[in-house]
């Protein structure tokens, strides 16, 4: 599982990089935000991989990590923005 976890982190970093290129990073994250996006991708992919292992088995965990990471980098920054908007109201 250690090797698989490492694979999911690498996959998440790549997805984070793609998310940066796709300009999914909110402007409010500032200059170092791109690093945050990489970290978010890696973290969500790792969580997705473990969730996939539990729900579908290790064979399908990488595919699960893939789509959860994409969803994560696409939706979580927006979700954070909405949460902070509510907090600042």
């Amino acid at each position: 599982m250690l090797m698989l976890s490492f694979l999911w982190v690498v996959l998440g970093l790549l997805i984070g990089a793609l998310a940066n290129a796709a300009k999914l990073r909110p402007a409010t994250w500032g200059r170092g935000g791109w690093l945050g996006m990489l970290g978010l991708g890696a973290l969500v992919a790792l969580l997705g991989g473990w969730l996939g292992t539990w729900v579908f088995g290790a064979l399908f965990a990488t595919a699960t990590a893939l789509w959860i990471a994409v969803l994560g980098v696409a939706l979580l920054p927006r979700l954070m923005k909405v949460v902070s908007w509510f907090q600042n109201r």
Binding site: L18, F56, L59, A61, A63, W67, V70, L71
Partner: protein
């Protein structure tokens, strides 16, 4: 190009040049968004959709089959495998079971595991590396695999009674921890398809068998004897020479031995040993054979290709009845499960015409089936030194069959 196209104003040119990196940047952004959308769809399909999960499994299993070894991705992502050897008693005597199963509990989705009963051909094939590799690879993918053996099969004989072994294995698997009773299928190799067919046609289990897959199987012993006797087969309207391997003749000679005298048995065993081709019986030895054994001998020896029909007609009634019992054809009408036929076009053990006849019978019965012809197998094992074209073409066909088989448990 009529020369009236408006030219860009001079003042705009520096701006247009400045726009170019931004356009490229926009293009990169769109490409990244498209790549993310593709990865999202791909990941969701391969993990959430049963067809996708079956495709993932078959794509990981295919290299294991073609290379006859365990590929790294399967070793990395697959389940650890537990092996057990069991012997159960049945009405036909002991049934030997080699069980390969994942050592982890089944995941919540899809729930219960798929199980596959694996019936190898004549002889004790349990330690054959390609069979062990297939069983282990399937177990790594979450499938419980049971390889079935019987004393008769180990003794290079085929008996319809041994279908009981498949029924016993099926009933055992239905209560096996983690196995979903609705997801049990049967794969057979070579003459093992008789056991698989007889088992799958048994009223005790026939409505619950999920699928049958036969690699290099036969359907009709009389048709097989006709091809043997002629040493030729008709494929696509063309008659092609065909030479059997010694194992076929050995198995066919032994399988009917219970109906022959001791002299007949000894002479047929002398004429058809297991590993080598013996010299034909002398005229004097042939004279010692009973009429039944004489006709049977000439069919196996292939020395009277013009008298095949006569020799088949000369077989005694009990022998004809036995040959009928030894033909999966006799029970096909009672099978409910869909059937996948896989056969190499140049199979040196069971001629390809048997697969064609099998398919024709199933089509006549309106039974769900598919037939895939290959060139990568040497009877039931993947050949060596395969060309890239062979691997690619046959690999895709094999991927389709594997996906159908693994869909049951996905």
């Amino acid at each position: 190009m009529d020369g009236h196209q408006p030219s860009l104003p001079q003042g705009k040119k520096p701006g247009a040049l400045a726009d170019r990196p931004e356009r490229t940047w926009k293009l990169g952004q769109r490409a990244a968004q498209a790549a993310l959308a593709f990865l999202l769809c791909l990941g969701a399909f391969l993990s959430l959709v049963p067809w996708g999960r079956a495709l993932t499994r078959s794509a990981l299993l295919l290299p294991a089959l073609l290379s006859a070894s365990e590929p790294a991705p399967l070793a990395l992502a697959g389940d650890p495998v537990r092996f057990k050897r069991l012997t159960i008693s049945s009405s036909i005597g002991p049934v030997f079971l080699d069980i390969y199963e994942p050592a982890t509990p089944p995941p919540p989705i899809p729930g219960g595991r798929e199980a596959i009963i694996d019936v190898p051909g004549a002889g004790d094939n349990r330690p054959v590396p390609q069979l062990v590799n297939l069983s282990q690879s399937l177990a790594r993918e979450g499938v419980v695999v049971v390889t079935v053996g019987t004393p008769t099969l180990f003794d290079y004989q085929v008996s319809a009674r041994d279908g009981e072994a498949v029924v016993q294995a099926f009933e055992l698997l239905e209560h096996w921890p983690g196995v979903d009773p609705q997801r049990i299928g049967i794969i057979s190799f070579s003459v093992g398809d008789l056991l698989a067919c007889v088992g799958a046609a048994d009223p005790r289990i026939r409505d619950r068998v999920a699928f049958l897959a036969f690699l290099g199987g036969y359907v009709n012993v009389t048709g097989l004897l006709r091809t043997l006797g002629r040493r030729a087969q008709d494929v696509d309207g063309q008659t092609k020479p065909w030479q059997p391997i010694s194992t076929d003749l050995y198995v066919l000679a032994r399988t009917v031995s219970s109906l022959l005298s001791l002299t007949d048995q000894q002479l047929l065993q002398q004429a058809f040993p297991l590993t080598t081709r013996a010299l034909p019986l002398t005229a004097q030895q042939q004279a010692q054979l009973s009429p039944d054994a004489t006709a049977y001998y000439h069919l196996l020896e292939g020395d009277e290709p013009g008298s095949v029909d006569g020799n088949l007609a000369a077989l005694s009634s009990p022998l004809k009845v036995l040959l009928n019992q030894l033909s999966p054809l006799s029970v096909l009408g009672q099978i409910r499960a869909p059937i996948h036929l896989l056969h190499d076009r140049n199979d040196p053990s069971i001629p390809f015409t048997q697969a064609q006849e099998f398919a024709a019978v199933l089509a006549h019965l309106h039974h769900p089936y598919d037939l895939a012809a290959y060139s990568i197998f040497s009877h039931v094992q993947v050949g060596s030194n395969l060309g890239q074209g062979q691997v690619l073409g046959d690999g895709l066909k094999l991927l389709g069959v594997l996906t159908s088989i693994l869909l049951v448990g996905s």
